[in-house]
Symmetry: C2
Subunit: 327 residues, 2 copies
């Protein structure tokens, strides 16, 4: 499916060339001027039953995730959320009980993130239940984090732990079996991502390039590389893993594939000058979100590979499904 | 379906109470402050294949209509568009040719309305092809047109001609047969509405309440009445009809039902003080869009009917399907 997505992005990216703020659809969100000091950041993401979630996922979690994946795009730009709009497409299988739970979930996160629901549209169709949220945020002019800000020599960092969500989905689908508390942790991470808003806002104006990890670590670092005209090497053994993810790869090393290629983590991946690394790590500590260096940014490679992953002997590891996102 | 929609609106309107700018989801778009002088207006609307359009409608027209119905919401607030985001859900029946035509249509209106595509999201599902557009606009602080601004004694006005789109759909579905040029005019109006942006912007700060006619004349005037706590009486014979619509009601008076109850016209309905009517009509003349008085705003009625339609003998006409919007 990945090729299909690329094709589709191409379809619309040339239309977006008209817009100064569109960043050619290459960034997590669009950016446009509204006052001399501030810019508006706008992003839209759909969650579709059967594609991005299961209809038997708790509806309150679906609502919260739909909002959070959009807030994560704002976090990746270093923006502060101001409000959101919701277009929801219902069908016959969505009853009042489902909607009530959905609404309760949404309300929890409206309060939690102080991000008001500005408006919306509700339609009924014969297709799958889907939710499209458009989140709006603001950022000080010139300080938004872009994908295009990486430079050769920079250090590549990530927040939190990587791979939990894709492993959680594998647990949920019965493909991965771990002890109950490990599975619970991973499934929670899949159902309820944590947008790194505070860290993103702190990093705004300080770091090079930034993206949220939605397509998968390798795929998203690839997005930074393409936008910045650089390459990246990731030291696999530096990638921060949760205890649960460590248990998965201890059981079978095949789960590394899931950690490197699986999406939906909604951690931030960003680049920084080496000289700033220490202060950047402190910012994470203060915000209660670990930040870890996992690789380096280099010049464009001759073999056109944007991202390589190296094992402990510096041998390249093949990643077969970067950007696998479907359920 | 109308009851269902009301239920669903209730589901989310209490969540929106948290937001100052949400206008309790009662308006065409949301409004929020961004600088001391300006407000951002944001609106989102989905168009779904099989619900809002046919999969054999020309894709270039689907694209333009998807954008235009959102621009119409901005027009109803008196706002100037600044850009839009698009979340598109594809399926197997949408091929490259379809997408190419869709894209060409979108591009035409991006140029025509000078409204850049800021960003988007593309997904593939097993459900119907659907497009959700979120349009953003700006308006001088305090001058946005709201549904809640109608007062007893005001005159009710509309732009353009009413009912063409619903009659065009009837022609398209083979339910109404007229001479070729009449049918063509009506079908064009159905496929390609004209958002009344210029008139809306001119009326901002001048008139009472305003709405765009998307659900149907009676239903949308009803929205104004509920938001303003007033009633309205519409003089049916004052409703401006195109030659084609006149031909339809000359053929069979049953088509009045379609004109009063059918949606998708995207003309503006608004209220004004009688003393301002003349200058308001001049504004329309300068913008090349006829404005016509079609009724009066009154106190809330004892029988709770918000909108009555009167024939030439001032007898009430029953409208059985106000707000019928489905294809």
């Amino acid at each position: 499916m990945s090729g299909e997505f690329d094709l589709i992005k191409d379809h619309f990216s040339d239309l977006a060339n008209h817009a100064d703020g569109a960043l050619n659809l290459l960034d997590d969100a669009a950016l446009f001027d509204i006052s001399p000091k501030q810019q508006i950041v706008a992003t839209t993401d759909s969650l579709i039953s059967g594609v991005h979630f299961h209809l038997d996922d708790p509806p309150c979690m679906v609502a919260r995730k739909a909002l959070r994946v959009n807030l994560s795009d704002l976090a990746a730009m270093g923006a502060m959320p101001v409000g959101f709009l919701q277009a929801i497409i219902l069908n016959g299988s969505v009853n009042d009980l489902y909607l009530e739970s959905y609404k309760n979930g949404l309300n929890i996160d409206i309060e939690h993130f102080h991000v008001p629901l500005y408006g919306g549209d509700t339609t009924v169709s014969s297709g799958p239940f889907s939710v499209t949220i458009t989140a709006l945020g603001k950022v000080e002019k010139g300080s938004a984090l872009l994908r295009s800000g990486a430079q050769s020599g920079d250090v590549l960092c990530v927040t939190g732990t990587i791979g939990d969500s894709a492993l959680g989905l594998a647990c949920r689908n019965g493909k991965l079996s771990l002890s109950e508390n490990y599975e619970e942790h991973l499934i929670d991470r899949y159902l309820l991502p944590e947008p790194r808003l505070k860290v993103g806002q702190e990093l705004a104006g300080l770091v090079g390039a930034c993206i949220d990890i939605s397509d998968g670590l390798v795929a998203d670092v690839g997005h930074i590389c393409r936008a910045s005209g650089v390459s990246a090497s990731i030291d696999r053994d530096s990638i921060p893993l949760s205890e649960s993810a460590s248990a998965a790869v201890s059981k079978d090393r095949v789960w590394w594939e899931c950690i490197l290629g699986g999406g939906d983590d909604y951690e931030l991946a960003f680049t920084t000058k080496l000289s700033r690394l220490e202060s950047i790590i402190s910012i994470g500590q203060e915000a209660g979100v670990p930040i870890k260096a996992i690789g380096r940014i280099g010049e464009t490679r001759d073999d056109k590979m944007e991202v390589v992953v190296l094992d402990s002997k510096s041998a390249e590891i093949h990643v077969s499904t970067p950007g696998y996102r479907h359920r």
